[in-house]
């Protein structure tokens, strides 16, 4: 029983960890794109 508890923990923490990791990466990518858009847009305006 104890081993099965551990197996279930590995399953739950592992799979949710993968999702958490990739969700955070998704947010980081979106945030990076947003910053790039803001700063490059300002650069273009400055050049004008």
């Amino acid at each position: 029983m104890g081993e099965w508890n551990y197996v279930i923990k590995v399953f739950v923490f592992g799979f949710s960890g993968v999702f958490l990791g990739l969700i955070l990466l998704m947010l980081a990518v979106q945030l990076t794109s947003l910053f790039v858009k803001i700063f490059t847009h300002r650069d273009k305006e400055t050049i004008k």
Binding site: G14, F15, V18, F19, L22, L25, V29, T32
Partner: protein, 372 residues
Amino acid sequence: MTEFSITTILLKTGFFHLTAGHVIMWLIGGAFIYLAIAKDFEPLLLVPIGFSIFAVNFPLAPLVGEGNLIYLFYHYGLEWEVIPCLIFLGIGALTDFGPMIANPKTLLLGASAQLGVYITFFGAILLGFNIKEAASIGIIGGADGPTCIYLTTKLAPHLLGANAIAAYSYMAMVPLIQPPIMRLLTTKKERMIRMKQLRPVSKLERILFPLVGTVVIILIVPDAAPLMVMFFVGNLFRECRVVERLLKTSQNELLNIVTIFLGLAVGSTMVAEKFLKPQPIFIFFLGLVAFAFSTAGGILLAKLMNLFLKEKINPLIGSAGVSAVPMAARVSQKIGQQADPKNFLLMHAMGPNVAGVIGTVTAAGMFLAMLK
């Protein structure tokens, strides 16, 4: 001077030590070489692996024992974790993250396509494997050879040969395994969904991605750092466009050299005494289960996302979340075009495809964090 006679010389030849197991392993090695040459199944790996299986199953040949030639490839290449990480350098240098940066939602599909990894982990426990062995078998579902090898070397090195062969064999069979599952889980209407063209991704975003990815993934799963660092540095070589020589070496010469050592080292683990047991058969069966569930996981999450999204995604791109780059994406494109010949899904499918690589490495890192 050592005394010797005809008898002692004859006893030192391989003939007197040959067993049926050795001959069976020659046939298995020969079968891999045949599949690689005649059927074009992952030839870059199956040719060296097949020949290595063939070669290491000669009695008395000093190849695999400690200090011998192929043992050195195995010891320094795999036990020291060098080869999978160098392969990741090459993969990173070859990977275009543009489609994923343009549509970051596809990262979720890469995560859901790890479903097979965890279902198979359960299945392997039920079949009597211990928890570390089960994790190393489950990761086959990620369809990522180097990660499978990396994790197996750390958790269950005695299963390395069977796991690596299963992973690469099923990767070669993606075009056969995935289409029936894709058709089963989607309607024709869903397969015909056309997706909006991806936006262009700026050079700055491409350069920043490997840095951002390194920060996020290594902070969450430090155990995945060796693979992720090499993957992202390879990608930085590609995107920064100022280290052309390093990029070419990572993509070509280095990757090819390391692939030779990888094939020989993996094949050398398949000696008759260790390999001819029921375990490899179970592993091949579980590998198939893993691939099927990973394919289904990606498709089902895409369908679920469509319930909430204004701009629908074609669920066929979900199946590309199993890493197998770029074959799984090509399968999505092919099945999509069977439903609508003017539908082009390839670039959309590349997003989950490369996200699947990161997903599998994260899954491996989670296993290491909990089981090492």
